[in-house]
Amino acid sequence: MDIILEGIRQAFILLFSLDPEVIGITWFSLKVSGTATFISLFIGMSIGTVVALTQFPGRHLVVSLINTGMALPPVVVGLFVTIFLWRNGPLGFLEILYTPAAMILAQAIIATPIVMGISLAAMQQLPRKLRLQILALGATRLQMVRILIREARLPLLAAVMAGFGGVISEVGASIMVGGNIKGYTRVLTTATVMETSRGNFDVAIALSVILLLFAYLINLVLTTIQQRERPR
């Protein structure tokens, strides 16, 4: 128990003394996961919306595929991204293995199905008659989609939170494609793994506390926006 209290104390010391390494790692984690989530929003929401609003043969196969993707294990993504990005691999010419770009790529692959699945569910739960009504009022298809997205904005914010939460907390892919390089690709989760294996449990706990703190702050902001907009 002492070690946990000591770790929490250490977390505040590291944060408030503005320890340059910890601040760097924290800021870098937010940048990588934020960018990855941002990318996944574009891809995930657009495909999720299209699948939700169209009918085609084999649709339920696609939907179950997307839902399976929500459970995509980060290490599996890490393994495949690593193999593709090897110097002598199919995408080796990009030369981005063990760089932040590779981490963003892997995290975007992890977050996209999560955002897609939740967007899909969000759009699907809108009453079908709403679409007919909007179209009947003379809206174009594009206008209809925009109105539907606005109607589903609250569950869509949940998609953002789930996607971001999924990638800021994952370690398997980040350590494989980033390499946990000091001052370059080290994020809060990979630093926690390393400090644990070094036996610096207090620092590891401190990093975990910082991770949780920032995850909470970001979700607090998103939740505030979401709840303020809640239809009464």
Partner: protein, 290 residues
């Protein structure tokens, strides 16, 4: 509704601006770093002991290269080298290294330093191995008493050494109920062994670095078979043209230089009371431990 629109607009502007700044930051930094990056594949023990945190900044400052340290087991490090996915290796698995060189994967293999392996276990020492002079005898006693032994099981240098000792002791440990494998790095395996009060084989550097957090004692040490030698290997660019040979060579040269060897000699003394590694540049492997 208006408020929401404004919020959405603001969020969009902020996100777009952030994305631009981030993208700009990443690309400029990356372009400079890709130029002179050296990929060092090494064992967990060199990173977990903290030695590389001292040596690498020295090297980077001196040469302008940027070192990407990928800390894995020696087995995986050599697999990366054999695929041309690393430029230079710092490893401790001599038999596998010789095979690596014989297969033409490396250009030059030089000795850097050594420390030794130790057999650690709970102070209660259920197999009564404390003070045993030969590691093989200690392993035989562990097997005979059926006390649990925690193996790395990850083809690392430490795991290979452990298998050598089992072989020399004439014990088939694999598959026995008392023989368990973690598949983890040295630090984590020590933590598991400490928690479950079992025996394990560890390199002295990692053990000393973690000692305060463990409840394990050194039970057997000093046997010749327990020597742990680290070599640096430059990966062969003839086999894999994308290998950064100049960078790899510069790092290897640095590790055996006077400057780096002096750091190795004193590293850990202030913190653990004794050095974690002994510098060996220029020596022959056969002469070590004499």
């Amino acid at each position: 509704m208006m408020k929401f629109k404004r919020n959405l607009f603001l969020t969009g502007v902020v996100l777009a601006a952030a994305a631009l700044v981030i993208a700009a930051g990443f690309t400029t930094a990356d372009a400079a770093k890709a130029q002179k990056a050296v990929i060092l594949a090494t064992t967990t023990s060199t990173q977990d002991s903290g030695l590389l945190d001292v040596l690498i900044p020295m090297f980077e400052k001196k040469t302008g290269y940027f070192v990407k340290t990928i800390a894995v087991g020696s087995g995986q490090a050599m697999a990366m080298g054999a695929k041309g996915e690393a430029d230079v290796l710092l490893v401790h698995s001599p038999a596998a290294e010789k095979k690596f060189m014989a297969d033409g994967n490396g250009v030059k293999r030089r000795i850097v330093m050594h420390n030794d392996f130790i057999i650690v276990g709970p102070p209660s020492d259920p197999a009564r191995i404390k003070g045993t002079r030969k590691a093989t005898d200690a392993f035989k006693k562990i097997a005979a008493s059926g006390s649990i032994f925690m193996s790395r099981g990850d083809k690392s240098g430490t795991h290979v050494k452990e298998m050598d000792i089992w072989k020399a002791a004439g014990v088939k440990a694999e598959g026995e109920r008392w023989y368990q494998q973690t598949g983890l790095g040295m630090g984590q395996t020590l933590a598991v062994a400490a928690e479950k009060k079992t025996y394990t084989l560890a390199d002295r550097g990692t053990y000393l670095a973690l000692k305060k957090a463990l409840g394990l004692d050194i039970l057997v040490e000093g046997d010749g078979i327990l020597l742990n030698v680290y070599h640096v290997i430059e990966v062969n660019p003839k086999k894999w043209p994308k290998v950064n040979f100049a960078g790899g060579k510069a790092f290897a040269d640095f590790l055996v230089s006077r400057e780096a060897q002096d750091v190795v000699k004193t590293f850990g003394v202030d913190k653990y009371g004794s050095p974690l590694f002994f510098p060996d540049a220029g020596k022959k492997e056969e002469d070590l431990g004499k």
